[in-house]
Amino acid sequence: MTPEQACVTIKSVLGEIAPDADCDDLSAEADIRDTLGLDSLDFLNFVEMLSQRSGKRIDEDDYPQLATLASGSAFLAGP
């Protein structure tokens, strides 16, 4: 998965979790949870769906890397 593909995946998952939010306006460095008002259960859904779609295991220790679109895309595209 390239960082571009990862970014699209993250946005589409966010669109399902917070249908009211406009993910196109989400800037690369903005904190996703704060900007979209996701609570801890939303975030858990987010992580689960990302893991399913990318096939990558995501541990709790990896959560900080999913804070923004930029860091999240890099993480999913990484090894």
Binding site: D34, L38, D39, S40, L41
Partner: protein, 454 residues
């Protein structure tokens, strides 16, 4: 006759005898040996039809003796109150069990008794029956008209509660349900569209208010589309109004007192991290689940805070049904309950919480979940605030508030360290209790130090 003789070929298989003739095939639900005993059964049948949406009318026959029974009055009252499709026929022979009517009854025109329940009634000469047909014959039209006049006022129970709360006159609401029945959505639409500027003081009773933000189950099953998006702001507005009333009432009537405590979550979070590492991703728990479990257990240990304030005294609840404040996307807040939360293992509580939040946001919460909470918890920590002191949901007597888990310098055994902490608060009703709030929060803190036992 076979039934009278107790033969198996009788309509009741010979078991009914002369007093209990019945035949389900012809929808004849039986004679009754008790004077007036058929009336409650008829009202029950009509209520069943109403609830199942079957377009039927129940006919109930009784004699003039039955009108002196309490059941007669109770049944007419309920049938009129709930607008049930029942046709009550009193066969008046003027000599119930051999007593002349005018020796036992002050009012001998029995048809006027129905008037006291606001029910249309007519005396009919049984020897010369009149309908609208040729020669006074009773026609299909007569029956349908009778049924239609009953159906006109069909309102779902939720819609009725909502209308009472929002001060909506049901007569002006156009029903869109089956057979023109008025549904909750119709009331909400009327409330937002036609509401006069000044506020109509509605009847205020505790339980219906608490149930208000209920969303009918069928709404969730509708396909997403324009209809859903159109309805949403109205629903949010009606909900806003309901919350406004309930919270104003809480602040007006309940003398709140508040206590707060900062709790070290170091042990709880490291236990949770270890646990989550060893389970599949779908079984991971969030800290909120542990906090919920501890809050429920503490409520069980401090029963003075778990229950209701009703008619000037506290009524403890037999179980802990933990209400959880859930914010809805697009505005609004509901507090559905997790039943028997203190008895559930933490992992089970976690999956219930996920399920509940998902359903709440999809508008698929069950009615019982919205009415049964015995104590409520609000967790604003996810929104980034350090602490929250809440407003109690009447008629409950306590509300637990949880803030954000933050890292703070913390002294343990004379040494300073960095620990994750959470500020827990409790708002409690001073009428019900004046000091156990402190005990509750200390217990909550204690329980959170032993996460493995939760």
């Amino acid at each position: 006759m076979a039934e009278m003789y107790g033969k198996t070929t009788g309509c009741s298989g010979g078991l009914g005898g002369s007093m209990h003739l019945f035949d389900v095939k012809t929808r004849f639900y039986g004679g009754n040996a008790i004077v007036g005993g058929g009336l409650p059964l008829a009202v029950g049948l009509a209520l069943a039809d109403r609830m199942r949406g079957d377009a039927r009318v129940t006919a109930c026959f009784f004699g003039d003796g039955a009108v002196a029974e309490g059941e007669f009055h109770e049944c007419l009252n309920l049938a009129a109150l709930w607008q049930l499709p029942v046709l009550f026929c009193c066969e008046n022979n003027f000599y119930a069990m051999g007593t002349a009517l005018d020796r036992a009854q002050a009012q001998t025109d029995l048809s006027v008794r129905a008037a006291s329940y606001g029910m249309p009634s007519w005396p009919v000469d049984g020897m010369d029956v009149h309908g609208s047909g040729r020669g006074g014959a009773i026609t299909r039209y007569d029956v349908e008209r009778a049924a239609a006049s009953m159906r006109r006022d069909r309102v779902t129970p939720l819609a009725r509660r909502l209308a009472a709360e929002l001060g909506v006159d049901l007569k002006i609401v156009t029903g869109t349900g089956a057979g023109g029945a008025v549904r909750a959505d119709d009331v909400r639409r009327a409330a937002t569209a036609d509401r006069p500027a000044e506020e109509a003081p509605g009847p205020v009773t505790p339980a219906p208010e608490a149930r208000l933000p209920e969303v009918p189950a069928r709404e969730g099953r509708q396909p997403a589309g324009p209809a859903t998006t159109v309805r949403r702001p109205e629903r949010a507005e009606a909900m806003r109004l309901a919350i406004a009333r309930l919270m104003s009432r809480s602040k007006r009537e309940i003398p709140h007192y508040y206590v707060s405590n900062t709790v070290d979550l170091g042990a709880a979070l490291s236990w949770l991290r270890e646990r989550n590492r060893s389970v599949p991703m779908s079984a991971r728990m969030v800290p909120a689940a542990l906090l919920l479990k501890a809050a429920a257990l503490a409520a069980r240990e401090v029963p003075e805070l778990n229950g209701f304030w009703a008619e000037d005294h506290f009524v403890p609840a037999p179980a802990v049904h933990l209400g959880v404040a859930v914010s809805l996307r697009g505005g609004g807040l509901i507090t559905p309950a997790i039943h028997d939360a203190a008895d559930l293992p933490a992992a089970e509580l976690m999956s219930r919480l996920r399920d509940l939040v998902n359903r709440a946001r999809a508008g698929r919460v069950r009615g019982s979940e919205l009415t049964d909470a015995t104590i409520t918890l609000t967790n604003l920590g996810d929104q980034g605030v350090e602490s929250v002191t809440g407003v109690i949901y009447p008629p409950q007597v306590a509300l637990v508030g949880l803030g954000k888990i933050t890292e703070r310098p913390w002294a343990v055994n004379g040494l300073l360290g960095i620990r994750p902490v959470v500020i827990t608060t409790l708002a409690a009703d001073h009428r019900a209790d004046g000091y156990t709030g402190a005990r509750y929060l200390s217990l909550l803190a204690e329980l959170l130090q032993k996460p493995e036992e939760l």
